[in-house]
């Protein structure tokens, strides 16, 4: 059990370490930031001075070692563009992306969970078919186009909602539907199959035999247990939503982390790009770890069995 935990944590750390290397190499590939920072009149001496200020004149492995050492301490360097700490810049934008991601996730749950439950209870009826159609549409809609179509309908034609930018709750409606729509299919399928499993369990049969109302059996007894598998994946789905927000943020000019990505790449702002890459990497790896731990907590047998069982 403890060995399993330790090996999981170690694996997560190795993954993150590989990620820092990729982040480092990838951002160094985008070209010489000096070209962006200095104008054409800069002399060779100016370039050298600037390179030594930024540490860009050292060999790459040394740069990486310094970078890693600082990163472990939470220091990711200053943005080349604004000269402010890169981490601060990302953290300033993060709340907006979190706001969008959370609302989108709620929208997704509100649509997906009831449909998932009902299509499990009324399996193979027209409701179930409707659920499948919704799941299929969820999978098939290109997010960026759905966003534009919602703008066309609700902002341009009906003039009910603003088309872009961040502001009051009205600004959140279209972006969160656009972003949330994307995960409806996945959540619905998870809920439906978990519900189907649960409804066949003996305690559900018992609850029915006791004469409980069908709605009580479904929404209390069965759903509570059926939600465990989808909930364990909720974190991962949420991270996926935040990463996917780049597209939605672009369509709606939402000034979150996604927009910062695009601004930073255009400016070759390495430190900021690295922080964002690592931020999402940490969230992803962290969520995977949490899922593993949750599974041990729910089903202690997993901790005892071989690692390959679940990963396989």
């Amino acid at each position: 059990m403890r060995r399993f935990l330790l090996s999981r944590i170690l694996q997560a750390l190795v993954t993150l370490w590989l990620l820092t290397m990729v982040a480092f190499v990838m951002t160094r590939l985008t070209g010489d930031p000096l070209d962006v920072l200095l104008d054409a009149r800069a002399t060779e001496d100016d370039r050298k001075a600037m390179a030594s200020v930024l540490g860009l004149d050292r060999p790459l492995p040394v740069q990486y070692a310094i970078y890693l050492g600082h990163a472990v301490l939470g220091n990711f360097g200053d943005s080349f563009k604004t000269r402010r700490p890169a981490l601060t810049m990302v953290m300033e934008r993060l709340p907006l992306t979190l706001e969008l991601g959370t609302t989108a996730f709620l929208v997704s749950l509100v649509i997906a969970v009831p449909i998932g439950v009902i299509s499990a209870v009324r399996r193979d009826t027209s409701v179930d078919v409707l659920g499948k159609v919704i799941a299929l549409l969820g999978q098939s809609f290109p997010t960026f186009w759905l966003g534009l179509m919602l703008i066309l309908l609700f902002a341009v034609t009906l003039e009910w909602l603003p088309a872009s930018g961040a502001g009051g709750p009205a600004h959140l409606v279209l972006p969160s539907i656009t972003l949330g729509w994307f995960t409806v299919a996945g959540i619905m399928r998870l809920v439906r199959s978990a519900m189907l499993d649960t409804l066949g369990q003996e305690y559900v049969v018992t609850a029915r035999a006791k004469g409980l109302r069908e709605s009580g059996v479904v929404w209390k007894h069965a759903l509570r247990n059926a939600l465990i598998p989808p909930l364990t994946y909720a974190g991962l789905i949420f991270v996926g939503l935040l990463a996917g927000a780049v597209v939605t943020e672009t369509v709606y000019a939402w000034p979150g982390v996604g927009q910062l990505v695009i601004e930073s790449v255009a400016f070759r702002d390495f430190p900021v790009i690295q922080v964002i890459l690592l931020l999402f990497g940490v969230m992803y790896v962290g969520m995977n770890l949490v899922i593993d731990l949750l599974y041990i907590w729910i089903d202690p047998r997993i901790g005892l069995a071989e690692t390959t069982v679940r990963r396989g």
Binding site: L18, L29, S140, F144, M149, V156, G258, V261, F280, G312
Partner: protein, 313 residues
């Protein structure tokens, strides 16, 4: 690669036959069912027809398109589709801000979608399957290394990778393929590995190993054929995803660069015009939606056909 000489040929054939029958049993039942399955699911006729059209239009694009996809005509700019008041017959689905024919661009865009999705899936499938089979067969540190790298690639923010690559190499097909492979190879690797872990304990593999077959021969000749059916199912389920991914990257400016008529580029072209000329963005997006819907419907059906367990879910 040829088997080592000192072996009795008949035994080799027997072992081969064993592995082939394992393969056959998983496919043959599907073959018999296929026609009946299609007859029961008449809903599938339309998406299959759309898919056939998608491939046909993609292959024949230059012969089908009435105009060149990049020919501009400022006199005809932002013409609405022919069925609307100001529409003209030379621009059946209207034109964009440079007067290019949207119908011809959609037709040529089909080819981009088709090429990217086929190439991307073949490349990702080949790489992922090879690494997955190796991981599952060799186990130990090789397995751990491959799987950790798989975890790491999934932890990378895919749009950042795409945008950075677009800055480094300039946007183009190469970036899109790299991003697709980067994102998809691990799905193939996981599936191939999981199946090989089970298969490698089967008698025909033990027999092959007892005969002294080299590992590479066992992987290529005995293990690979047995996992192909499920990898095909996996692939059909990725096609729609890949088409949308290409369009999304092109929309963001990190995929196929303008003026090439990628559907994503076309939607991006019309973004600023959404209030005045809705057709520029709407129609190419509709093309994506229709094709991806059909692909997903057919993909789900193929999965149900080849993997009856999933039918219950």
């Amino acid at each position: 690669m040829t088997p080592v000489g000192s072996r009795d040929t008949s035994t080799v054939i027997a072992v081969d036959a064993m592995s082939r029958s394992a393969e056959a049993s998983s496919v043959a039942s599907g073959d018999i069912d296929a026609l009946r399955f299609l007859r029961r699911r008449k809903v599938l006729v339309l998406p299959l027809a759309i898919l056939a059209a998608f491939v046909g239009v993609g292959v024949l694009a230059p012969y089908l398109a009435p105009q060149s996809p990049t020919a501009t005509d400022l006199g005809l700019k932002l013409t609405p589709p022919a069925w609307l008041a100001d529409g003209v017959a030379e621009r059946p689905l209207g034109s964009d801000q440079l007067g290019r024919d949207i119908l011809s661009r959609i037709i040529h865009g089909t080819r981009i979608s088709l090429i990217t999705s086929l190439l991307g899936i073949v490349l990702a499938g080949a790489l992922g399957t090879a690494l997955g089979v190796i991981a599952g067969y060799c186990r130990g540190w090789v397995d751990s290394l491959i799987m950790r790298v798989a975890d790491m690639t999934l932890a990378i923010h895919i749009y950042i990778l795409a945008i950075v690559l677009a800055v480094v190499w300039g946007p183009g097909l190469r970036n899109v393929l790299v991003v697709i492979v980067f994102l998809l190879w691990s799905r193939y690797a996981r599936q191939a590995r999981a199946e090989v872990l089970v298969l490698r304990e089967r008698d025909f593999v033990t027999a092959a190993r007892a005969l002294g077959c080299p590992g590479l021969w066992i992987m290529a000749r005995h293990l690979l054929p047995n996992i192909v059916p499920s990898l095909i199912v996996l692939s059909t389920l990725q096609v729609g995803f890949v088409i949308v991914l290409e369009a999304t990257l092109s929309f963001l400016g990190a995929g196929i660069p303008p003026p090439a008529p990628s559907w994503g580029v076309m939607v991006a072209d019309g973004r600023a015009l959404i209030a005045s000329a809705w057709w520029v963005s709407t129609l190419p997006g509709l093309a994506i939606l229709i094709v991806v819907l059909s692909v997903n419907l057919v993909g789900d059906a193929i999965r149900d056909l080849l993997d009856p367990r999933s039918r219950k879910l």
